[in-house]
């Protein structure tokens, strides 16, 4: 990156710019729920500012207010020292605020150039706008080291590159303040490092970055200062250099938390789950699993690490009987079971906590007690004559809620109205209470707050010690390393190698990016 093309001088410490963003007394409620209460936030220009908080702490609402998706009920927004109103995202863009969403807002069949132009075409005919956009892209690429081929189809790009397109889109629209919402959730450690380099570059060019995340390590690694939200309030703002992971975690949760669950050595016994040379082909004819073999023994947790989209989801769904195998065999407790439907597998002692509880693990429109029987609704214990035994279901729900500390313990509450962590506890309770022989778990703590992560992790360790065989799929390396007795790393539909549970992040990260282990 040649530094002579710098158009804007980086801010010198002596010359004070007004804060890029200042929020004063922002409150916002939805019905009876108060998502933001009297929030004050000050983001200095030319810095990277982190906003952390548990799910449901109000981070997303706050950023949505800043980006014009919601209107605050009260309070003021100041951008560059000037009081502004932001009625919609157009207004936010006009004020130089750009947002990179957690779920990318890209048109996959379009090229990078077309995506960058989208909504800023500059007239009914595309040619002129396209030429302008191309020139601008070349400039941005040079200035910020954001290398992406403008003519590549976005759908063909790896996730890390797609994210760069999102950043380019914001910069193309003249963003001086960039908000990134959970940007590293879908990235490999390596890609995340690259993203951080880009963010540092943006900062050195005088841009302001607001980073929303729940990963404390990222806050420590990249931000200049950070603010912590809890239950709709801004509870603290700290210069990053003057705080620690432990302090931030405590501020987030409101009490001391164990970031790592204690666990003793595993006592693996007989093989409960065996997958041999499993192949899965998806609807488009693409091979998603290319010959995966693994074994899980009673009393151990086998972790499957990897960047999302490398076949882990297909592996889980194939074992759970949701996706048919093209070839290969799966053995559950000694019985071949490929081709058995999910109900048959449950009867054989398999429990499945799916990766995406909203899409698969729960019917969010149902109340909690109705979700207690999902997948177990034809069990005799929940039936009385022709009808469902509502008393038994309610009682099971109460028991689950008590055992797993689901809050609020309200069986009649619509599932969508529970927080992510409590929803996940409802799923875990349902699957675990059936006393399965084998438990397959996908992303058990995705979107779950720190306090609940601790509880869920402890639960999984207890199950292991109780002699269950557990297969854990997670994209969170920390989680894999905290829980697993053995780690398998998947890349492009294959298992790249097996490592012991205490393997280093570097080692696992290398396998995750597809580099064969030298001495695996």
């Amino acid at each position: 990156m040649p530094s002579e093309v710098t158009p804007q001088a980086p801010p010198s410490p002596g010359q004070r710019r007004p804060p890029a963003i200042e929020l004063v007394g922002i409150s916002k409620s939805f019905g009876a729920v108060q998502a933001n209460r009297d929030i004050a936030l000050r983001v200095e220009a030319g810095t990277i500012h982190g906003v952390i908080g548990e799910n449901g702490a109000g981070k997303s609402t706050l950023m949505s207010i800043l980006y014009g998706f919601y209107q605050a009920d009260s309070g003021d927004i100041l951008v560059g020292g000037r009081k502004v109103s932001i009625p919609d995202s157009q207004a936010a863009i006009a004020l130089g605020i750009g947002m990179v969403h957690q779920h990318f807002m890209l048109v996959e069949p379009f090229t990078v150039l077309e995506n960058v132009m989208l909504g800023a075409e500059g007239g009914a005919l595309l040619n002129r706008g396209r030429a302008k956009a191309r020139a601008e892209l070349v400039r941005l690429e040079r200035e910020y080291d954001l290398r992406v081929d403008p003519d590549a189809i976005v759908g063909d790009l790896p996730v890390g590159q797609q994210q760069r397109v999102e950043i380019l889109k914001a910069l193309y629209r003249g963003a001086d303040i960039l908000i990134l919402d959970e940007p590293t959730g879908v990235l490999t450690p390596d890609e995340a490092d690259q993203l951080f380099r880009i963010l540092a570059q943006l900062k050195s060019q005088g841009k302001t970055v607001v980073l929303i995340t729940h990963k404390l390590r990222e806050i420590m690694a990249i931000t200049d200062s950070c603010s912590v939200m809890r239950q709709g309030r801004m509870v603290a703002t700290r210069p990053t250099a003057g705080t620690s992971v432990e302090e931030l975690a405590e501020l987030m949760v409101g009490r001391r938390v164990l970031l790592r669950v204690e666990k003793g050595p595993a006592n693996p016994a007989e093989i409960r789950l065996k997958v041999e040379d499993a192949r899965v082909v998806d609807g488009q004819g693409v091979e998603r699993l290319r010959g995966v073999s693994l074994e899980v023994r009673a009393g151990e947790i086998v972790g499957v690490a990897g960047v999302a989209g490398n076949g882990q989801s297909e592996l889980l769904e194939a074992i759970a009987g949701i996706r048919p195998l093209a070839s290969g065999e799966i053995t559950l407790c000694g019985k071949p079971c490929a081709g058995t439907d999910p109900n048959g597998l449950r009867a054989e002692g398999l429990a499945h906590v799916p990766e995406d509880r909203h899409r698969m693990g729960l019917v969010t429109k149902f109340d909690a007690k109705e979700n207690v029987i999902l997948g177990y609704h034809d069990r005799a214990e929940y039936r009385s004559g022709l009808f469902l035994d509502r008393g038994a279901i309610l009682e099971a729900c109460r028991r689950h809620m008590q055992d797993f500390d689901v809050r609020p313990p309200a069986p009649d509450l619509k599932t969508a109205n529970f927080s992510g962590g409590n929803q996940q506890k409802i799923v875990l309770a349902r699957e675990i209470e059936q006393d399965p022989a084998v438990l397959i778990v996908g992303q058990p703590t995705r979107g779950v707050d720190v306090g609940a992560i601790e509880a869920i992790h402890r639960r999984l360790i207890e199950l292991r010690d109780a002699g269950k065989a557990i297969l854990l799929v997670s994209v969170e390396l920390d989680e894999i390393r905290a829980l697993s007795d053995r780690v398998l790393v998947m890349f492009d539909g294959r298992v790249m190698g097996e490592l012991p549970g205490d393997a280093g992040e570097r080692e696992i990260g290398l396998l995750m990016s597809g580099v064969e282990a030298a001495h695996a």
Partner: protein, 369 residues
């Protein structure tokens, strides 16, 4: 974010607001053509509810709408949009009619009636299961196929009525009239209990069958395993597969139930009123059922209330066109259309405002305390 409102607001207040809005706009239309809207409302209400015969007609129409409303509602719970109630009811009429034609010389009405109901339900279910099969196995969209099956049903029935079922020598494309045993008793005795004289109105026993169908649908959807599977599939098909619920099975079963309910509707006009098979047995009730199910929130109680409302609009509308000649039959359709528009299509128009109001209320209460 979706604020939760008390149930009575969601199920009572908001539909009422929608209805009021529909009537206000309809009133403006009546004003625009130079008539008095208050007088028009009086004619509608009197025509539908003011005297025994009017009530009889209102109940007769409402019976049709309850069946077709339930038909759409059941499919709705499986997230299937069954537009084919019209054709399923028409074919159901064939089932009802064939049973009556075959048995009316031999058996009393109270044995024929349940057999005819089964016949109608089976024919309606069978007709609905063809598009259901195409959807479940071939991915042909059920909205498109059920619409097309309405036309197929109409063509098939015209062919049968003209070529097979017509009385030889007669001019009308109708079957022969059933004997006494092929006719359902009228509700004259029942309404006489309330001091009403039904006159020539066709309201008949199938009204009670409709109410029984409501109880059946309620118990099935909310109290049985099958209903749970249907609702799970409708609310989240991926979770249904995860739970071991077969999408093919649920699509077929839900559509069979839906078509069966539509087929039962034919009991009302065929066995209860005309006592023969005739052209256009369903008479548009299949389409009104869509509005009824939307307005009734796919719940049997809502379906009954919406059906009675539409029964009033149908019967009262006919009286209105008679009493105020400036308001033609088409105007009456406009009024009905406005109700569908506000109650169905714009169902949630007032919800945000009501939600804001309710969000403000507790705050004020605590402020006073």
């Amino acid at each position: 974010m979706n604020a939760q409102l008390p149930r009575w607001v969601d199920l009572g207040l908001i539909p009422l607001l929608n209805l009021i809005a529909a009537f206000v706009v309809a009133g403006l239309v009546v004003l625009a053509i130079g008539e008095d809207p208050i007088e028009a409302v009086e004619h509608i209400l009197y025509g539908a509810l003011g005297f025994g015969e009017g009530i009889g007609f209102t109940l007769f129409y409402a019976t049709n709408f309850i069946f077709t409303g339930l038909c759409v509602a059941v499919a709705f719970h499986a997230s299937l949009f069954n537009i084919g109630g019209e054709g399923q009811a028409y074919i159901g009429g064939l089932g009802v009619g064939l049973v009556c034609l075959a048995l009316d010389h031999y058996l009393p009405w109270w044995i024929i009636a349940p057999l005819a109901a089964i016949g109608g339900a089976l024919f309606g279910a069978g007709w609905a299961m063809i598009p259901a099969y195409f959807q479940a196995k071939r991915g042909s969209h059920i909205v498109i196929t059920t619409i097309m099956f309405n036309f197929l049903a109409a063509s098939l029935m015209v062919y049968l009525l003209v070529n097979v079922l017509k009385v030889p020598g007669a001019m009308a494309p109708e079957s022969r009239t059933f004997e006494e045993a092929g006719r359902l008793p009228k509700l004259d005795g029942f309404l006489a209990l309330f001091g009403q004289d039904i006159g020539g109105a066709p309201a008949n026993m199938s009204f009670f069958l409709a109410l029984a169908a409501c109880v059946f649908v309620w118990a099935l959807i909310w109290r049985t395993r099958l209903g749970y599977e249907i609702r799970t599939f409708g609310a989240n098909p991926t979770a249904a597969v995860y739970a071991g619920i077969s999408p093919v099975k649920i699509t077929l079963v839900a559509m069979a139930l839906s078509g069966g309910l539509a087929g039962l509707m034919a009991m009302n006009p065929v066995m209860g009123d005309q006592n023969r098979m005739f052209l256009d047995i369903a008479g548009g009730a299949g389409f009104v059922g869509i509005a009824v199910a939307l307005m009734g929130r796919a719940h049997p109680v809502g379906v009954v209330l919406a059906s009675i409302l539409f029964g009033i609009l149908y019967q009262g509308g006919a009286e209105l066109a008679f009493e105020m000649p400036a308001i033609t039959r088409d105007m009456v359709v406009v009024i009905q259309g406005l109700v569908v528009l506000f109650a169905g299509a714009l169902e949630f128009m007032f919800r945000p405002a009501v939600a804001r109001l309710f969000a403000a209320l507790p705050a004020r209460k605590t402020g006073e305390a």
